[in-house]
Amino acid sequence: MEKDKFTIKDLNLFYGDFQALKKISMHIPEKEITAFIGPSGCGKSTLLKSLNRMNDLVEGCKITGTLLLDGEPINQMKNVNLLRKRVGMVFQKPNPFPMSIYDNVAYGPRTHGIRKKSELDAIVEDSLKKAAIWDETKDRLKKSALGMSGGQQQRLCIARALAVQPEVLLMDEPTSALDPISTTKIEDLALELKNQYTIVMVTHNMQQAARISDKTAFFLLGEMVEMNDTETIFSKPQDKRTDDYITGRFG
């Protein structure tokens, strides 16, 4: 039976007076890919960021309700860095640090106190391999990451996220800035990684959600309209609003 990685119940999120998330309740299963879909401003990225408390950085942000990681309340965790080590994130636009490929991947482990070169070498190699970019980088590890293509940079960012041995990868539209071939590589990678990690992905690309996710949740105006197995959402959604959105008849 599938185990929940995140349990969310009656979650409300406010940016000042504006309520961005309304009474969200859902279960995100472990070692599966869960996709969040919905039009811009529906709250999907806000919810994603709540999963590793990226919203803490937003002034005036207030959260009520229950948000658990492996049964533990996320908003009561004392060590946010530890939470973000467990729940890594990859953003829409690849954002490598202006340093070498090696240092990008070693950055996280160094922050967490690993100094020994042999250990760092092993982590860098392992992470780049897991992110399916080792063959393209092994001979240029000391070169700047900024010289890589967009697709390579995004896989490097995934390698960087993997280097601190997370349990969850949050992906916020990870392929929207990439060409179709790079997109395919990231999708293949996500399918490979779900054997070891829980993946939660925000995507504007519904076909992408259909291709790779196990579960899909549809959001609209801060509400979660419907969540189900991806095949069910795309073949017989329960709510007319979901149907209208996925068939392009929305609005």
Binding site: I181, T184, K185, E187, D188, L191, Q207, A210, R211, T230, E231, F234, S235
Partner: protein, 217 residues
């Protein structure tokens, strides 16, 4: 390889089609045995295989729908999946027709009527046509598919011959039990199986070239 999971699913679809083709062949071989040995038990077991064929059709249909929904196939992949969807409908009909022959064969058991030897010849040819057309699909072999389509003339010719001979027999013995009509029905079902195999071949052609086979009539 890019989109490996998708490629694996397409290969699995081929495997399932081969299994469905094998079931059709098994049903045909069994129904021939039932006719040859006039064994009602065997005729009953044809129905069990026919049920397996129906189940296989549902499984493959679900697989194709999932592929269409999740992978949004285009080009040859789209043709392959849409051809597979049509082919399983033809194979399902082949299953039905073998079951129909099995039902008719039970009357023959009652009457102990000799089955026309040409029917076995028809069955052998039609069975090979089904097997070849599925292989042609899996190998994208349009030449083999064209051979299947051409072979149907032999089946049609045998049907006409059987029909004429049975008509002569009825004319000679107007008071016969009417079992000649049962034999004619069997021949007709065989002829229809040949037609379904032709359809299979035509779907292979569509898969390979993206166009339908032009009607020879």
């Amino acid at each position: 390889m890019a989109r490996q999971a998708y490629q694996e699913q397409l290969l699995k679809l081929n495997g399932e089609l081969i299994e469905m083709g094998d079931l059709c062949e098994e049903a045909m071989s069994l129904v021939m045995k039932a006719l040859r040995e006039k064994d009602e038990e065997i005729a009953v077991s044809v129905h069990k295989i026919e049920q397996k064929i129906d189940q296989k059709e549902r499984d493959i249909e679900t697989m194709c729908m999932t592929l269409l929904l999740r992978q949004q196939p285009v080009s040859g992949d789209l043709r392959s999946i849409s051809s597979a969807l049509r082919m399983i409908a033809d194979m399902e009909r082949i299953g039905d027709q073998t079951a129909d022959i099995a039902d008719v064969s039970r009357h023959l058991t009652d009457f102990q009527l000799e089955v026309h030897p040409k029917i076995f010849h028809m069955g052998k040819i039609a069975s090979k046509m089904v097997n070849d057309s599925v292989n042609a699909f899996v190998r994208k072999d349009d030449k083999l598919a064209a051979e299947v389509i051409a072979t149907d003339d032999q089946v049609d010719r045998l049907f006409e011959e059987i029909k004429m001979e049975l008509m002569e027999e009825i004319a000679k013995n107007p008071n016969s039990s009417g079992s000649e009509l049962d034999v004619l029905m069997i021949a007709k079902y065989m002829e229809r199986i040949g037609d379904h195999a032709v359809n299979l071949g035509e779907w292979v052609h569509y898969y390979v070239y993206g166009e339908k086979v032009e009607d020879k009539d």
